[in-house]
Amino acid sequence: MNSKHLVYCLGASMLAAAVFVPACSLYVRDEAVQCKTDEDCSSRGPDFVETGCASAGPSKGFCIDRRSLRVNGECAANADCVDITGPGSVCTIGDDSLARCVRVVTEECPTYVGDPFIEGTALYGLLGEISPEDTGFAQDFPLLAAADLAVNEFQSDRALELNGKRRIAIIGCSESKPRTAAAHLAQLGVKAVIGPSAESRLLRVAEQLSPRGIPLFTGHVGQNAAATLPASNKLVFLTAPTRDGWLAALNAYLPEASADVKAARTLPNVRVTVVVGPELSVYAPLIRERLSFNGKTAIENQNDAACGNCFQLVETSGKTDAQIADEVGAFGPQFIVPLVDTSWGASMLPAFEARFTGPQAGRPIYIHPMVRDEDLGYRQLNWAEAAVRARFVGLWAERDEGVLASFRERYRQRTSPSEGQVGITPTTRAIRTYENMLLVLYASYAAGRGSEAGEFNGRALAAAVSDVTAAGAQTIGPGPLSMLDAILALNKSDGAMPKPTYGKIDFNGLYTQFEFGADQAVSNRVQVFCLNASGQYVGSARVLRNGQSFEGGTPGLCR
């Protein structure tokens, strides 16, 4: 209490009190509340002019001074929000141009890394199945740690912070409610969003973010489902292999692998089965119409009695593993292409293998295209046998094993529960999240150049992507060792006033070269992976760089 005054005494009692009671003999306890509304305050008298009622925080229910407030809205800084919503909110400008306090943690966005409450912090969103109740939590729980690692490495050196010394925080949201989560992120004023994981949710997310100029970067979906949304133009970045990309790789690889099989097994044609799970059923029409082998499309092969109707597309929906295996076993393919996401290796592969007998050299060859994680199903088989290993091929994004190993180690350290202990192994999705976060950080840095306070918005960030993925500029690898080089290169300026031209970099990720096409999807290089004697997939020298044909190494099957 700052002061005390006598306020309620009748005239006569005042006199008596002065005589008989030299000072206050009775004090009312500090009021539990002074107000519920601002009107309660103004009605308390002249001392309360320009005060308002704090609706939360330590001063809740008391009239507090608001004279110096000069904003259009309810807050000028995050600290203001403590008195309005209590701790846990940030002050952001809404679509209505009013500043308001918005709670960071909600049901849809249950977590964050970094400190979003520090004034001026640049906020980013991460959308994935990151809530323990989400159906894909077991796949997506490593994502936030991956984004956190990128930020932590970026902020670990003072030379590497964003302009204006802005800190960085990431708000983690569950995409199981994509509209609500994306709208919340937009309301928080995030600069960009990483995600979502599911292609089917991309449009609903973009509908909320794009009209507000917030770009999204997803390393998990194969087609821009938001392409029909005019507002999303130049704001949706697909960094996963596109459907066209993986189909091109398959179409480039199948002819050379077919040549080997036809020669070794003296066959005029090859028989190909593509197994499509319900989660990837959107790929089915594309495969029928555009997959090519035996010099024909898949549908032509299917209808060609001369080759024994040598294409089969099996949709797994509603069938047991045994039924699917029976279907494929009866067809007798030389190549099986599984598009079955997570359940392939664990349950279907063993069922398939049980249907094929005879020497390994006569059994089908499994070609795993660029869909989600590398499959570990072969480990249930006798992979120590070279002939078994030769039947497994991966067509995945080109990568540098040394750089990847370094990332895995750093990620394990970051997720380690205590010093000296090993953390979790990053998944493909975690790797893509990390590299996307780095891309976003570099683009943020580039967007904030020339502004003392480092101010930038989502559209500026999106526009700056071309500055950090500029072909021919200095190549920057993924990881902390390249960060200083990247910042130095981006800081180079020709000094022209008032608008200098700044330097550019060509950032490469762990899996992604970030060579964006006009549709803002990457056209990544694809490498042929074979199993080595230790049972590990190892990238061969055979790489698809131009989307047409593989180059380098030995063509054909793994040996």
Partner: protein, 125 residues
């Protein structure tokens, strides 16, 4: 006289000055919050399975159902993953959490520190 005594008794000192808060100069009109669009509750993915089935296949071996029971298979699997991979057994279950089968050390940790989550998950049909 009665009035006089009552008046004495009811005289009081009260806090009647505004508090000057060192942070926000608060008390501004609280503007209405923006209503966020709603989503329908998430559907079960077409290929979802029970929590125990996911564990049998390895943690990357499938997606758990969200609408099949209360608590759902997904919630049970989530509790398992949080305990095994984020809180109690991270150091020894790292490979398991990335999709590999559980080894002895991981199993021992799960049995001692995540028994409830393991039982709830494996107890599903």
């Amino acid at each position: 006289m009665r009035t006089f005594i009552l008046a004495i008794l009811f005289c009081a000192c009260v806090n009647d000055k505004p508090i000057v808060d060192i942070g926000r100069e608060a008390g501004t009109p609280v503007i209405p919050s923006i209503e966020l669009p709603e989503d329908l509750p998430p559907d079960d993915p077409p290929n979802c399975v029970s929590c125990s089935k996911v564990l049998q296949r390895g943690l990357r071996g499938g997606v758990a159902c969200v609408r099949n029971a209360k608590p759902s298979s997904a919630a049970k699997l989530g509790a398992y993953v949080v305990c095994a991979c984020q809180q109690q057994c991270t150091a020894v279950c790292g490979a398991h959490c990335a999709g590999a089968a559980r080894d002895t050390q991981c199993n021992e940790c799960l049995q001692s520190k995540c028994k409830a989550a393991v039982t709830a998950c494996e107890g599903e049909p």
